[in-house]
Amino acid sequence: MRVQVLFFGVLRDLVGRASETLELDEDATVADVLEHYQSRIPKIREMLPSLALSVNQHYSGPGAVLGNGDEVALLPPVSGGACR
């Protein structure tokens, strides 16, 4: 099955693109997506404890099971608003 993976902020710079399509086994989870990018871009490994995840635009955990056509996003700590 195929999922769409989106990258934002510093992650987009690291991956070098805003999104890509990933081919995964049936019953793959968000953790499998993370595994893929960790091995491709080692720097992502140390960022994991601060990253959040979403599936189809809702916050989600690494255990979430994916379906064909799902939209997964890797989200660095957010920084909207202005002042601290």
Binding site: G9, P49, L51, A52, Q57, G61, G63, V78, G80
Partner: protein, 157 residues
């Protein structure tokens, strides 16, 4: 009328405030987040805001609904701007209308505090000598992280 909006033009507070005020309100509280000319001691030139737009909009609408329920305020409006912002420009506007001011202040403060930690928007800060993505605030407890948060499926591996 939408309670949450994302725009790319300068935010104009007056019409949002005028639209939201009703005869039963006794207080309107406006928060404007403004682009500062400095960050951690360095002089800022301008900022770029980007968002995971559909999710950000959903999150903002959800915050608005939660504020109405938790704080018993009558109405709220949340506007965030994206793209390039110059010093002094408003990046986020929060307007709360309420019969009583205490609830209004509490709701306003909760909204900006929570928005800054949960709404998927990121800013890149441009300085004379380069640009960096701002360190975001850590996600709150309720949001599971990619690693380190308890998650049944991963734990059973």
């Amino acid at each position: 009328m939408m309670r949450a909006t994302i725009v790319r033009e300068p935010i104009d507070t007056q019409p949002v405030l005028a639209r939201i005020k009703q005869p039963e309100d006794g207080a309107a509280i406006v928060f404007e987040g403004v682009v500062r000319n400095n960050a951690r001691g360095r002089q800022t030139l301008y900022l770029d805001y980007e968002a995971y737009e559909p999710m950000a909009l959903q999150q903002m609408a959800q915050l608005a609904a939660q504020a109405l329920e938790q704080y018993k305020v009558r109405d709220v409006a949340i506007v965030h701007r994206l793209g390039r912002l110059e010093i002094g420009e408003t990046s986020v506007l929060i307007v709360v209308a309420s019969a009583h001011r205490g609830a209004g202040y509490d709701a306003s403060r909760w909204l900006i505090d929570t928005l800054k930690r949960t709404v998927p928007i990121w800013k890149k800060e441009y300085f004379v000598d380069g640009a960096v993505w701002a360190d975001g605030e850590p996600f709150p407890e309720e949001i599971t992280r990619a690693q380190g948060s308890p998650s049944p499926r991963v734990a059973s591996k």
